[in-house]
């Protein structure tokens, strides 16, 4: 680890101000991704701005037809929230299957979403549940937020403050865990909003993506058989030493179908 200056931001404005005024700053949330990167000397920010002391950034609530998760809420809190379990069980279940207990108690939704790790679960939750990413500057639809491998629509000085998930008619998340890291090799969020359907896939590509063919099929008939034979091309998918792109493609169809099976 290289040396850096540590700041504990008093509020979001303070964090944002430091982000734009300091030399090479970085926000520190749960540190689950950032700290290992620093320890391995893969990054050397001049300043870390810790959001941990900002009370406004913590907690979950149900507001109208949305579940609101504030940025610094750890995954374990989302998983254990009775409100979330009632209003949007698929989200609680997603959060409860992230990594391991230590990671779930430190890692935050803001850090996860800001990072756009191709194998992270929340991106599938955000896109599949038609979420809005709220920052100190604007609101961004999840569909427009995740741009690529570790790439998001966030601009300099922008701090995620909360994520607002639209409560679906029903939804289910299925995940194939990476045997080493626990991240998603394939994670599929399937959600039904009245006559509309969303199918969002994480883990398999460079960043979360939707499967419009499956969505259209489900909008015709929300049944497992509608999508059971929709094959996904392996061409744009990733492969690693554990799982090939071809296998990931196969799993997407199986997991999407099983997600629907779990709902009907």
């Amino acid at each position: 680890m290289h040396n850096f200056n540590y700041h504990r931001a008093a509020d979001v404005a303070d964090a944002s101000g430091k982000l734009t005024s300091l030399e090479d700053p970085k926000i520190l949330a749960g540190g689950m991704t950032l700290l290992p990167t620093l320890k391995n000397r893969l990054a050397a920010p001049s300043d870390l701005i810790d959001l941990a002391a900002i009370a406004d950034l913590k907690g979950v609530s149900v507001e109208g037809d949305e579940v609101v998760v504030r940025a610094m809420t750890p995954h374990a809190v989302v998983a254990a929230s009775a409100e979330v379990q009632k209003a949007l069980p698929a989200l609680a279940q997603l959060a409860g299957n992230i990594g391991d207990p230590a990671v779930r108690h430190r890692g935050t939704i803001g850090g996860s979403v800001a990072n756009s790790d191709p194998a992270a679960d929340y991106p599938a939750g955000c896109v599949g549940l038609d979420a809005t990413i709220v920052t100190n500057k604007r609101k961004i639809a999840a569909d427009d937020f995740f741009l690529g491998l570790f790439e998001t629509a966030l601009e300099e000085g922008e701090v995620i403050t909360s994520v607002r998930f639209k409560i679906p008619t029903r939804a289910h998340y299925m995940k194939f865990r990476h045997p080493a890291s626990g991240y998603a090799v394939v994670g599929v969020m399937v959600a039904q909003y009245g006559s509309k359907a969303r199918v969002a896939v994480t883990g398999a590509g460079p960043c979360v993506f939707r499967l419009s063919e499956m969505e259209a099929a489900l909008e015709k008939s929300f049944a497992p058989s509608s999508i059971a034979n929709i094959k996904v091309s392996a061409e744009q998918l990733m492969g690693d030493i554990h799982c090939s792109a071809e296998y990931r493609a196969h799993l997407i169809t199986v997991y999407a179908r099983r997600a629907v099976e779990a709902m009907v």
């Binding site: 194939f176 080493a180 890291s181 030493i241 554990h242």
Partner: protein, 777 residues
Amino acid sequence: MGEFGIGQPVRRKEDVRLLTGGGEFTDDINLEAQVYAAFVRSPHANAKISAIDTLAARSMDGVIAVYTGQDLVDAGVGLLINDANYTNRNGKPMHKPTRQVMPVAQTRFVGEVLAMVVAETPAQARDAAEAVEIDYDVLPAIASTAHALDEGAPLVWPEHGENLVVHWEYGDKDDVEAKLAAAHTRVRVDLVNNRLIVSPMEPRSASAEYDAASGSLTVYTPSQGGRRLQMMLARGLLKMAPEKVRIISRDTGGGFGIRSKMYPETVMVAFAARALGRPVKWRGDRSETFVSDYHGRDQINVAEMGLDASGRASVLKVETLLNVGAYLSENGVRLPMEGGGRIIPCMYDIPDFYFSVKPMFTNTICTDTYRGAGRPEANFIMERLMDAGAKALGMSREDIRRRNFITEAQMPYKTHLGFTLDSGDFDGTMQMALDAADWTGFEARRAESASRGKLRGVGLATFIEGAGSRPVEGMRMRFEENGDVTLFAGTYSHGQGHETVYAQLVNEFLGVDFDKVHLIDGDTATSPETSNGTFGSRSSMVGGMGVKRASEAVIAKGRKIAAHLLQTEAERVVFENGVFRAQSSSVTLAEVATASRDASKMPEGMALGLDESVVFENDVENFPNGAHVCELEIDPETGILEILNYVAVDDCGVILNPFIVHGQVYGGVMQGVGQALTENVVYDASGQLLSASYMDYGMPRAAHMPMMEALFNVVPAKTNELGVKGAGEAGACGAPPAILSAVGDALSHIGVSHIDMPLTPEKVWRAIQEASAVKAA
């Protein structure tokens, strides 16, 4: 005796200390005015070193010294040696390239230490290490066990002309091949025994301190016992008198075989401390342990067995390729011959045997001993063969084993490579496992799984081990003034629980309170002269027998003293429960110990003190064995496999502490589950390690394993008075073949009988896909 004696499930003494952060691991030790080391490691698997420029590094803040291989040559530092001595049948000796602590001219694996920086702080040392500039001429590299012996493969040691270390053979190849050809049924298995990261919890570390006035060097490092390291470091490497080198391991966070070895970093830290006259400290990080700790396993085996119509196997051929890495580590090359060789063909009586071993160099870190050290590999071969034989003959897997087991009537039974099995009830042990797992009720459970679309399988593996290698070890027993007893052992507990078990033994033999017995180990200044350490499941026998011998000597001496105090003859004194008795009068051991310090109370001519120092030596090892049954379910659509039930029945002879032996079984099985399901070292074609972190290397998790049942079939060893057999490595022997057997069973109806480890979901899924495609065609 009582609740703390032999066989009692006594809770481990050391656990409160270890679990509450009271352990003293090498990184916990900080020496006055210490400075810090960081290493420059090779990024290339094979490269000539044309220049090392340390100028920039030397001028950086806080940097005290930078050393390269040339500095070691100039200082006369010795080589890292291997003392194996195998020859080819044509008389040509094995190839033994020299290994410098830091190579000067060429690097041969990624992660190899090429330079060392010493600085005032760890960060300064790291910064400077990054500033050392090395010019490389990168050469083609070879990492693959399957291809290192191919024509035209890049050569690790070009002057040798090939990557083969030696071609070692046992038995008559032509005769065995003729018998295989003539056999009623002939089966063959092609196996990969995957390469593993050993993963002790504590990363490798070292701290060293040199006292110029006395010329003595103290090295703190995790180990499995320091005496051998002391000898190597003193005599071979730093050219010092052994008594001037002291190795201390307070606590060590896991060894598994690889912590018993001498590594370049240890030598360098010691060298720098001596050269600089300041304590030097290095704590490896996890990334460093991935690339520079020795790896485990990495064999390819082709084996054939010939059977008659009744399932009796009479002839066996095993051909093994072994990847030893870029150099010869201390024991890696020995594993098939001296590790697995002790027992192969394992529990089976097979008269004709040809065994060929081809160890090879590759551009990878060395392999060496890892929990089981050659025995898991040997058992894996035999168990896969037995399953193949059962399938070929349409027999049950238990019947074919039963048909071929060495029986108690045949014991003592001499193995092909010259070891003698003294005891074991292989059939009885297997039957216990089958019963506990409800083997005969399996078909109903298979049908239930099938109704849910799942493929269920049950697997059986039996195995034998050779434990207690190099059976000679010292033990000292000291009586303290407050009545406590302190043991000084040459064995070294690095997780095994010796503090507890040795105290149980002292309690059993001498009646001393469990809490009043203390163990001091892991320090060459206090451990017995004869000290080999802890490895190969040896401490129950060599350490346990040491405690027994010392206790016997104490009792013999104590009887004379007691007789003197009680004014009778020693022959009339009996010792029981810590008390010496002669008719109605008695004196306690503690009182005898006190009297032994007072010349006026001692018999004439007897030396003062009750303390004892003994060396236990045995002619032979012992042979733990067992039978494991694993039941699992496969999701054919995804290939995901779930273990549903696991039964382990072990014969580890007399059980000193079932609680601790259960722990050993669980841990060993878990490591076997890891090898079978998730763990795999992957190098790419250029020799880069791809599985270099726990984000990429699949350690098994608790979720991979259901509750398991561990049972014992106690058959006391006949070759040591405690009747103990080793318990540490059994689980790792049993789990891989039991799991493979179960997968073969689950998939047999579609024609899949073997998938190479690790059985990742994708591999299982592909095997199912391919078999289904074949079936459909």
